[in-house]
Symmetry: C2
Subunit: 461 residues, 2 copies
Amino acid sequence: MFLNLFTECSPSPQLPGLWRHEKDVTSEGYRSLEHWSSLAKRLEAASFDALFFADTHGVFDVYQGSWAPAVRHAVQIPAIDPVLVVPIVAAATKHLGIAVTYSTTYHQPYQCARLFSTLDHLSAGRVAWNIVTSYLSSAADNGLGEPLAHDERYDRAEEYIAVVRALWERSWDDGSVVRDDETGLFADPTRVRQIDHEGRFFRVRGPHQCEPSLQRTPVLYQAGASTRGIAFAARHAEVVFVTMGEPKSGARQVAELRRQAAAHGREALKVLQGSLVIVGRDKEEAKAKGKLLAALADKEGELAKWCGWTGFDLAEYQDDAPIAEIRTEASRSALGMLTRANPDRTWTVSDLRYFVSMGNRPRRRNGLFGTAAEVADRMEEWMDVAGVDGFNLLPCPPSSGVADICDLLVPELRRRGLFRKAYDPMERTLRERYFGAGIRRYDAWASPVAGAAGPRPEADV
Amino acid sequence: MFLNLFTECSPSPQLPGLWRHEKDVTSEGYRSLEHWSSLAKRLEAASFDALFFADTHGVFDVYQGSWAPAVRHAVQIPAIDPVLVVPIVAAATKHLGIAVTYSTTYHQPYQCARLFSTLDHLSAGRVAWNIVTSYLSSAADNGLGEPLAHDERYDRAEEYIAVVRALWERSWDDGSVVRDDETGLFADPTRVRQIDHEGRFFRVRGPHQCEPSLQRTPVLYQAGASTRGIAFAARHAEVVFVTMGEPKSGARQVAELRRQAAAHGREALKVLQGSLVIVGRDKEEAKAKGKLLAALADKEGELAKWCGWTGFDLAEYQDDAPIAEIRTEASRSALGMLTRANPDRTWTVSDLRYFVSMGNRPRRRNGLFGTAAEVADRMEEWMDVAGVDGFNLLPCPPSSGVADICDLLVPELRRRGLFRKAYDPMERTLRERYFGAGIRRYDAWASPVAGAAGPRPEADV
């Protein structure tokens, strides 16, 4: 079983209002390096695979057509840049992997390649890149890229991956860095080459600015759930992060992903289910903790978050407007969820607003609530029925929830032999932890990089 | 006296060939976090003001029209991203400042603002931004920005500064972050505002994605030496990094800078002279160390560096071509330097190639060579005659040169009362170290941020 902790560099990661919990330290700590060092050390002591950083650019300003609700409830704002927290986590640990979200929409591939090579050097091969293509229109309002249609974003992402992989995998040969004191040759330029990429979206000559790191290509994470997103994941991702409603229907989604991946010879990819976790010492404590969600969760914050995600402003419609009459992608998908709960009812905007404001409640089936034994049972069910390989755990509440996971849940999983008791010293890089000792490089198992080799420097001289 | 150590995240910072020195650890260490942690701790023990990171995007490919010479001698390639080393330095220290180069050409101001706010939060107010506008055409070959004319780059930089300062200084009021457990109000949106910038180069709405950090605006460094560069520094910079030939002529440059700064009410700005340092225990050891430069310095690497800087390919011309007949900015400036050395000679490309390949030798007058006492004398002369406030020291050789500076030179400067023996606990932020306890914010001494306040969210609701 693979375990990540899911977080964001924000006061109340994914859980509006929960920063108010009496044991909370995240709401101040998210911007201090001691906070991240100490979290990282705790996760390493529990032999977690990785700390996973989500991220957003811009601000959630869809609900009520304003960013005021997001600011009031710290919904992804304020949020510092997680890329800069990665080195702190790396410095505080020796084994813990670090997966960070980085958008193909806001940065040039040449920069992206240098950034992840740097992180992979500094962490000695422990970095993963969560590839995202999406954006908020408020990011475009801040000068970050022009809005692209969904499919066009994926076309661009395909080309982006080709460019960064070429920089990572075929610009510097193994052994190109010589460091020969005698002759004064640092690197052999005949073993370094340009990539000469000329595509629809990018023109990148190379060579790559960094020498090869242990993994060369970071472990590739992806979380797309759309048709294009699943196709993209099947072709490129090594670890897919899903958030499914319940194990049985999830099984179909996972099977489809693996079927498509197998067509590319990549059935070994790992699937992690994202789950909110509340663990108690006993049923009573778990129940009491569950009540925190209700008592502390902020309804307006949940609305700001959901409307920001979906781009669908629930404040724009009359209370009694039937959702079926609203023709947006988000309303169709929400209606599907509500109809599964009760097919006979005419669901209105007011109903949807209620469910959204209750946060994860309508999807509580996918949550992990209870005693450590109950939660472990539930995790086994997810693995058996849905066929997932592990979990991306969202701690609730943000601070003391981490302690509950590490002190209560992990010992139970270890007792059952579901989760490692210590890191395997043979698995030095994060990729080896997922795919076995010796599998350090992406092209060692996933697929060779496309395209011919570019010219060596002699061609220019 | 203010002291920085100058470095790059590259195997042989600024000194091609010197990675071959027997005590060198930089050529491997530049990509490991332990290297940077340990350097940072050593500098903090010597109560340095800051570690200064230079940087380049792209590759030096002007000399011989090829990047092969740069790759052979590790001239700015390989080079990891220094921005990601800043958090490691912050985590390893409590007082040391960290100045990092970041280009206004390759990143959007909205991203830049978030990045430096993040670093300022994580370091608790110890970050400086070395503002650069320049770029290599090879960066454009890699999809990083379109080449702009020199003056246009400065026009763009002026607008850039206005945008990032607005995000840092007037998007979130003091006290806007409330963290009120009772009411559930995290931040008060009526005290947060958009910046609504609409300019020639940028359109940025805001609000800023980060809450205010201790310094809000990082300490602003600048190193421009052109007419536009000096005007820009006089208007914006708090610390100006110069590399002058010798103290007497340097005095004129510093006086002109201060005169222009005074016109903006900013005469308090600090000027740091960049100097290569070789210190020995006695004259003999200093002499012997000096010989290292000659023995280990790589001539082809020096040519690759100089031609990359200037954009002027010295391999393109016949040996006996008179420099006076070449009409480029770089050749004119090089000819000026050579003519000052001997006005009667007809200087040729072959002569210039020789001097460039000898590295810093023709400008050795600006270097700091000798015993600790001799170097300290020379530093006093620089401060008295040229009117500089301190130094950005380039250690030579890269690794053991740091030890020489910390173990030999700093004790001598302390003995003379020229340099602090310990950090002043009242000066918590880097800006306070430069301008005095209590001066934490840029607008506390430099200049108010331009532009009117943007709308508060109520305007949208």
